[in-house]
């Protein structure tokens, strides 16, 4: 005997059409097992449906928000040039990136910006020939494996050195991030330009808004042309977000 299990839930719910209900009625009239099952199912359904609603505990949304921020800080390695990248898609490149030129093929800027509540949020923008497309870019001198960056933590001198060394080895740190507004990006860039007195021939590899020794700071990682035909360099400037004064600086020769 085949038992109409697929109809019995609807039967208990009172959801069956007349024909199906008659079919089940006819079946359980002769099937003690299904009759007993329907009785048990009704007990369960009645008890489950009369369970009181769950109260959402206070502070859950904040915990989730904290977990998301943590997730961003611990953003996994984004394999920009060799793996499967999963960064946020950007809808448009930041305006200041326009000047850099698509020929450079790879321009990645990441910002960790404070939102209105003072909590950090991360944003990235990329123009990899085709804005928003995170496909690997082959054949560029700058291509390399991805490397982890935790941009919202507090940097110190050693952290700046590590940042510069990473960039100098041809790697580009790309946190898994979301898009900063053009205004925020432009503000950070202006502060770096002003504080570091950039000349304009520096190519930004990464821009980060974070803290340095506890103070709100903008960090810029740039690729500079070599002087007098020398090798290209990676420079990292750190300026105060408050007054754009230089807090730190280091540079490394770019390793080819």
């Amino acid at each position: 005997m085949t038992h109409p299990d697929d109809l019995l839930a609807g039967y208990v719910d009172g959801d069956l059409g007349e024909r199906e209900r008659a079919k089940v009625d006819a079946h359980i009239a002769t099937c003690e097992r299904c009759r007993a099952d329907v009785r048990s199912a009704r007990v369960a359904r009645d008890r489950l449906t009369s369970a009181p609603p769950v109260e959402t505990p206070g502070g859950l949304a904040e915990e989730i928000s904290d977990a998301i921020r943590h997730e961003k800080r611990e953003a996994p390695v984004v394999e920009v040039f060799g793996g499967t990248p999963t960064p946020r898609k950007s809808s448009k490149p930041a305006a200041w990136l326009g000047a850099i030129g698509v020929a450079a093929a790879i321009v990645i800027a990441a910002f960790v910006l404070k939102d209105v509540n003072g909590s950090p949020s991360v944003a990235t923008d990329r123009a990899a020939g085709n804005a928003g497309v995170s496909a690997p870019v082959a054949g560029s001198a700058e291509t390399s494996n991805g490397v982890v960056l935790q941009p919202s933590h507090d940097y110190d001198e050693a952290g700046i050195e590590r940042l510069a060394a990473t960039a100098a080895s041809g790697k580009v740190p790309v946190p898994q991030t979301s898009l900063a507004s053009e205004d925020e990006a432009a503000t950070a860039n202006r502060c770096l330009m002003k504080g570091a007195q950039l000349r304009g021939d520096e190519r930004p590899i990464e821009l980060i808004q974070a803290t340095f020794d506890g103070k709100p700071a903008d960090l810029g990682v740039y690729r500079l042309p070599g002087s007098n035909g020398g090798p290209e360099r990676i420079a990292v400037w750190v300026v105060s977000s408050r007054d754009c004064s230089v807090l730190s600086f280091t540079q490394h020769l770019l390793q080819n």
């Binding site: 038992h3 697929d6 019995l8 719910d13 199912a41 008890r47 977990a67």
Partner: protein
Amino acid sequence: MSADAGAADEILARRAADGNDDAFAELVRRHERRVYSIALRMTGREEDARDAAQDAFVTAYRKLSSFRGDSAFTTWLHRVTVNATYDLLRKRSRGPEPVEDVPEPLASDVDDPAGRVAQELDVREALARVPEEYRAVLVLRDMEDLPIEEVAAILGVPLGTVKSRCHRARVALGRILTGEPEAALERADASEPSEGRSEP
């Protein structure tokens, strides 16, 4: 949920995928109640429910770009939530811990507040003894009052399978609640027949 709410969810999800964290915060605000509720009923413990709800939203955040609007956002989010509870329960290699000091059930008067509490604890404990895949059907269908079609979409199994699973899960739970010998529930899997059941 109204069509407007669904459309708003999808707009928010798209904005969040583009990096708008306020949009994601709004999605959390809108859906934390249901997500937590599913998580609590699946795990049976408040602490686990918080963890699972958090995991669910973090996973949703990470995978937002894979939400393509093929299903309603809530269907997708609830699938992520159920999977988060499975992961959490497996990670801890245990089901919900049995609730201690449960008074003898069923004789209680439902008008008696103490009796209600006892009954609630009893359901929670009984649910813990139902395999996860079956528990999920009971939680979504009978406790969260979602349509059976929605439950099938969330769990990603055919409608007929979910209907059968719902019935068998209810039978098993009903027997636990009434102290009858428990009905055997085989682990649900993809090869489970979706229609009927044959007498051995």
